[in-house]
């Protein structure tokens, strides 16, 4: 009943191609956004900001970037963390070389460097596919992390070899560094993630998105109907790496506060790949659901038993977390390869026709 679409008529193609052709979707999203902007910041504690809200948003954005490449354009990549690193280091260099720069502008620009590097490492995709391409992107993963370690200029020759986020202000308010307030950082992250998500939705439902999906589904047919496969794949690498790079800059500047090269190692790449798979390849919303699950699960496992008075050691929590995430991945690969987003789509489809079966 809540999702009844009867009576919502479209009289123009523009109305049919609107972002939310079904009114209930728009209402639902408006409620979520109002809660995210107004409700959560009032309710959440410092702990919730740091362990849940900010990381969920950043991981969602990184997974969205990966999803553009793997889910929409069909090019498997295992180098996500390294591209996040490129974004983070580029942002660090920009704000230390040009301290007057607006930090949000720096974060948005740093994605550009990541996009350039992504295109360079995307060139093998013109020749190889599937697992072989995944191995080629692993080369990016290893090479870039090695570069973050060895190229002193990148971390301003710090003795520690790590980058430390400086205190940066925007309109007189600290947005990054030790003095920044979590609530402010949350708002910055939320704004950037919303902007990027909106643009990604537009790209995936437009010409470029169709080009990518055609390349993914059947590349020979795509070429014969007039798609330049080289352009299609390289734009996918560029846009995906851009989004991932912005996520990487947010990751370090708005959340971690400092970064060592090994932060961007393979485990992070896999973590983001898991979010994209559990959330649903080829979906935008799935990344958020996946991130909520993957980031939220350890927090829930760590706090709920304690609150209920069940004695459980932190090592056990760690093991439980690995086991549950592993089981979930196997479950989704077998039962629902399209992930949580597909589950939601099925529920929505059922709600629209409920209480009738057809």
């Amino acid at each position: 009943m809540l999702y009844r679409t009867a009576g919502q008529f479209k009289t123009s193609y523009q109305a049919d191609q609107a972002l939310f052709p079904v009114r209930q979707d728009a209402v639902l999203l408006a409620i979520i956004l109002a809660f995210a902007w107004g409700g959560l910041p009032l309710l959440a504690s410092e702990f919730a900001f740091q362990t849940l809200l900010i990381p969920i948003l950043i991981y969602s954005l990184a997974a969205l970037g990966l999803n553009l490449l793997t889910g929409f354009a069909g090019q498997l990549s295992l180098g996500t963390a390294a591209f996040m690193g490129v974004g983070a280091y580029a942002c660090y260099k920009m704000v230390t070389l040009m301290p007057w720069m607006n930090p949000v502008v720096a974060i948005l620009l740093s994605g550009g460097f990541s996009a350039g590097v992504g295109v360079a490492f995307g060139i093998p995709s013109l020749r190889i596919k599937g697992f072989y391409l995944a191995i080629a992107t692993l080369a990016a993963q290893f090479f870039l992390v090695w570069l973050f370690e060895k190229w002193g200029w990148l971390y301003n020759y710090n003795a520690s070899g790590a980058i430390q986020v400086p205190n940066l202000t925007m309109f007189g308010i600290y947005v990054s560094g030790p003095q920044a307030d979590s609530r402010v950082q949350y708002y910055v992250v939320l704004a950037v993630v919303m902007l990027m998500t909106w643009m990604c939705i537009n790209l995936t439902r437009g010409t470029l998105g169709r080009t990518w999906k055609a390349t993914r589904d059947m590349d020979i047919a795509a070429e014969l109907i007039g798609i330049n496969l080289m352009r299609s794949k390289l734009t996918a690498f560029a846009v995906s790496s851009y989004v991932v790079g912005v996520a990487g800059a947010l990751f370090v500047f708005m959340w971690r506060g400092a970064a060592e090269p090994n932060l961007f190692d393979i485990p992070l790449s896999f973590r983001i790949l898991f979010i994209a798979i559990i959330g649903g390849l080829g979906s935008v919303m799935g990344n958020y659901l996946g991130a909520i699950l993957i980031v939220g699960l350890p927090v829930v496992l760590g706090t709920v038993p304690e609150a209920l008075g069940i004695p459980i050691s932190s090592a056990t929590v760690e093991h439980l977390n690995v086991m549950i995430v592993g089981a979930l991945i196997v479950f989704f690969l077998i039962i629902e390869p399209h992930g949580l987003a597909r589950l939601w789509a099925l529920i929505r489809e059922k709600l629209i026709i409920w209480p009738f079966p057809h």
């Binding site: 193609y13 999906k213 055609a214 589904d217 070429e223 109907i225 007039g226 496969l229 846009v239």
Partner: protein
């Protein structure tokens, strides 16, 4: 037979476009040469798939390529759509010699095709599949697309209108939002035709459009092919095994066997060609 051939190929000079056309049995005026294949040979290593074949395709006609299995028909279509580059020979299109090209460049010159085994994009809806056929007409930049503003939005709407016309024409309105993977075979074939038509091609290549269809589906598809030709004036080149369909639909037929051309002309003439009869009924080679 020789005399009959001559009336169709009245101009063999280099680069010249013969524009005298002819009138079909059912009274349609066929225009000048749209494409001319000259002495095409295609080799895969030591295997000669096509041996020195020449024929022309005229504007507005329905041209069939027939022949037994392995005769080289699909290879011929692949040469026209740029998927294979001929080992020898020239291909003239719209009065100019066509250099070796990538398939996507050929598609942008107004040559669209369907495939023997359905090659739709399974993960997309019917509407999106047909919209991919319009990609060659969409030029908006990435910024405009990301913001869904200006040129990108205007193009989406304008091209959607064109696509809806094609959807109307092929009577697939009811399934426009259905994912292609859920459709039955016959409808998939129709969606594939819609995708090719959405490009508004000057030349449409159909690789066995009726393979695996039942009689009603074949009748529907035949009617669509005739309507496309009649309404949009699209030149159609088709490969088909169903002789009844070929003889009814096409204006002129090229017959291939073992990579060679053994006949070329109107259906009635080809039907009585001794070489063609031999190829189909089988004689000792």
């Amino acid at each position: 037979m020789d005399g009959a051939m001559r009336t169709y190929r009245n101009d063999e000079k280099e680069g010249a476009v013969s524009d005298t056309g002819y009138i079909t049995a059912d009274g349609r005026q066929i225009g000048g040469t749209l494409m001319e294949l000259r002495n095409i040979t295609l080799k895969f290593g030591g295997v000669v798939a096509i041996k020195d074949i020449s024929f022309d395709i005229r504007e507005g006609e329905i041209r069939a390529i027939i022949g037994p299995n392995g005769a080289g028909k699909s290879s011929m279509l692949n040469i026209i759509s740029g998927f294979y580059t001929p080992s020898e020979g020239e291909l003239w299109y719209k009065g100019a010699k066509r250099p070796p090209m990538k398939p996507y460049e050929v598609a942008r010159m107004g040559i669209a095709r369907t495939f023997q085994n359905i090659a739709l994009f399974e993960g997309m809806s019917v509407l999106d599949n047909v919209m991919t056929g319009r990609l060659t007409h969409m030029k908006a930049g990435i910024a405009s697309q990301a913001l869904w503003w200006g040129r990108a939005r205007d193009e989406e709407i304008a091209n959607r209108a064109v696509v809806e016309k094609v959807i109307d024409f092929l009577e697939i309105q009811a399934i426009r939002k259905t994912p292609v993977g859920r459709l039955p075979y016959g409808l998939k074939k129709r969606v594939e035709l819609a995708r090719a038509l959405a490009a508004e091609p000057s030349m449409l290549l159909l690789d066995e459009p009726m393979a695996g269809m039942n009689v009603e589906e074949k009748e529907d598809m035949s009617r669509f092919i005739l309507d496309v030709n009649d309404e949009f004036g699209t030149t159609i080149v088709l490969i088909e095994h169903d002789m009844g369909v070929v003889m009814d639909l096409s204006d002129r037929v090229v017959v291939m066997d073992y990579g060679k051309k053994i006949g070329d002309g109107p259906p009635d003439e080809v039907r009585n060609n001794q070489d063609v009869i031999d190829a189909y009924l089988g004689v000792a080679h």
